[in-house]
Symmetry: C2
């Protein structure tokens, strides 16, 4: 096997917003698989906001990417060689194989996918990590009851769009926050949220209060910053904040102050952080729950696709500035025949 493998590696740690110049392409020969290993070619690469965290050299729940190392990321790929009995060439697999055209992985790191269940890239979005995040956030922290008001920031995003649709299924009044009229329209008309507020309005707090006449019982936090400050005073007694992400500050070396926490006492708020991999069972659970909904067309999602592995850095830049619409994907290779 002498095919060439291309990897996007970190060239230097970005200051502020990451740019394509912070990365470079590294080429090498695709190695042969050792015992228990599988070689795949990448078809789809997932681009997610959390990746900004891997570029900081500071303590976090996951180790940072090192200079010269390939960026981490989830992919869907096709097996092209296998030294493990569980996989044969032609199998389509999900795995954390990074920003690479090919990858040698231990078989245990891969999940075989059912090609007929959904378009392959859906396993990186609505049926994958972002969808599972929304599901776990709602199930493990939000615990939404019918009649409650739920606010979702980054409502048209891969996580927010699923979180809000789950809240609608639970019988809640669901209000999205999104950037720009196109996203807000889609959130209301396609996702069927009860309302969606554009975070560019001059007085976000006022607009949100008008959209939430009964206050806010559950807030699914993907954004932070000014959006969080607008939501916080509107939370009702016994309100829950599902702390999933704070994309507005991922490029900040010194993040801005948060809301004063005094009202947490009197309102008995619960503010709780979520990392989807803490409950690994949720991934398969969610695929089982949501695959029929995707097939029926009752769970909606949207994608922004960029072609070519070399454009992964631009895709990350886009996702961190809200330039994407729905799940951000890089098409690295063609679908299997």
């Amino acid at each position: 096997m002498s095919a060439m493998q291309r990897s996007v590696v970190l060239r230097r740690r970005p200051v502020g917003e990451p740019t394509p110049e912070d990365f470079e392409i590294f080429e090498s020969v695709v190695p042969a698989p050792g015992p228990g290993e599988v070689v795949t070619r990448t078809i789809w690469l997932s681009i997610d906001p959390y990746m900004r965290g891997r570029l900081w050299d500071r303590p976090s729940y996951a180790a940072p990417v090192q200079i010269g190392e390939a960026m981490t990321g989830e992919t869907v790929g096709e097996v092209i060689a296998s030294a493990d009995p569980a996989f044969v060439p032609g199998d389509v697999v999900l795995g954390p194989r990074g920003w690479q055209s090919h990858c040698v992985s231990p078989a245990a790191a891969l999940t075989k996918l059912n090609r007929d269940a959904a378009p392959l890239q859906a396993f990186l979005g609505v049926l994958g990590m972002p969808g599972t995040t929304a599901y776990s956030g709602m199930k493990d922290i939000g615990q939404v009851k019918a009649g409650e008001t739920v606010v979702i920031s980054a409502a048209s995003g891969a996580v927010g769009s699923v979180a809000g649709q789950l809240a609608k299924r639970a019988g809640a009044r669901v209000v999205g926050i999104a950037g720009g009229p196109d996203k807000c329209l889609w959130v209301q008309e396609t996702l069927r949220f009860d309302d969606c507020v554009d975070h560019h309005v001059p007085n976000l707090g006022q607009a949100l209060a008008a959209a939430c006449p009964n206050g806010i019982d559950v807030y699914f936090e993907n954004v932070g910053g000014a959006v969080q400050h607008a939501v916080f005073p509107l939370l009702n007694p016994f309100g829950r904040m599902i702390m999933c992400g704070m994309i507005a500050q991922y490029n900040d070396a010194s993040p801005p102050p948060g809301p004063n926490l005094g009202t947490v006492v009197g309102k008995r708020l619960r503010i709780e952080g979520l990392i989807v991999t803490d409950k690994p069972q949720r991934a398969a659970e969610w695929r089982d729950v949501a695959s029929p909904w995707v097939k029926q067309g009752s769970l909606h999602y949207r994608e922004t696709v960029i072609d070519g592995l070399e454009n992964a850095p631009a895709a990350l830049q886009m996702v961190l500035t809200g330039g994407n619409f729905g799940k951000m994907l890089v098409r690295v290779g063609s679908d299997p025949v």
Copy 2:
């Protein structure tokens, strides 16, 4: 019955720190009890930080005290007349009867006390609302495991002293934060906390980090402000913040910003507010658990006593500025013979 009843009523809403001039004494004739009612004379009045919240005219979990109305508060008193079969003169009772020398209450609002279980004022402190708050905070939110590090602010206070002793009983390393060397010494030598940091030190964050070499797993929050900002970065993954009070800001019209909440996600922190009355069963549960400990002398507490109902405003001022040491009490009348 023509005894005179004295009440301390709110004269005007304080700006900043409440002073005695914000209150005045109102005298009236003690009424006779109607059917189902009980008349008591007050022996002990509890003074607690939450009372500052009742002086603001703004939405909260409890209604504000109105101008001209007697201040609310828990008391221990003696029944002097009863029109309810459950009580007879001479009974000693616990109840929310406010800053008053006498009070007519519905019988259902009163709890008969066992005079032999503990000194009567203990039912307002270690065995009462503050002790129950510590117990509920640890049981319902903190869930401390042996070997964890627990930090308690206002560690010598009525709530903090119990919270820390409970954490010690659970096998945790317990670090207090208190104001001044006397309180810190008592917290270490009598309460047997592993360490106690004086919040007046020049670099509280550094002192706290030195006292918590393994980080902080549970923080019992009674203070807010600079203390909260010092604790927050030291919280470990899966850390819990029991949000019980933020006395440092109770006099502020516009509370200062809080910590940026970005790390809540990656560390999966849980920040949760506590109001002790939400789980009413905890009060009797705690009296049963803790009364033997008080009798044995294995649960320590300390009191600051001021004599005379007319000095209740000064006692509140003292508790809000840390001038008290342990549970703040006003002795309104003599113990029953």
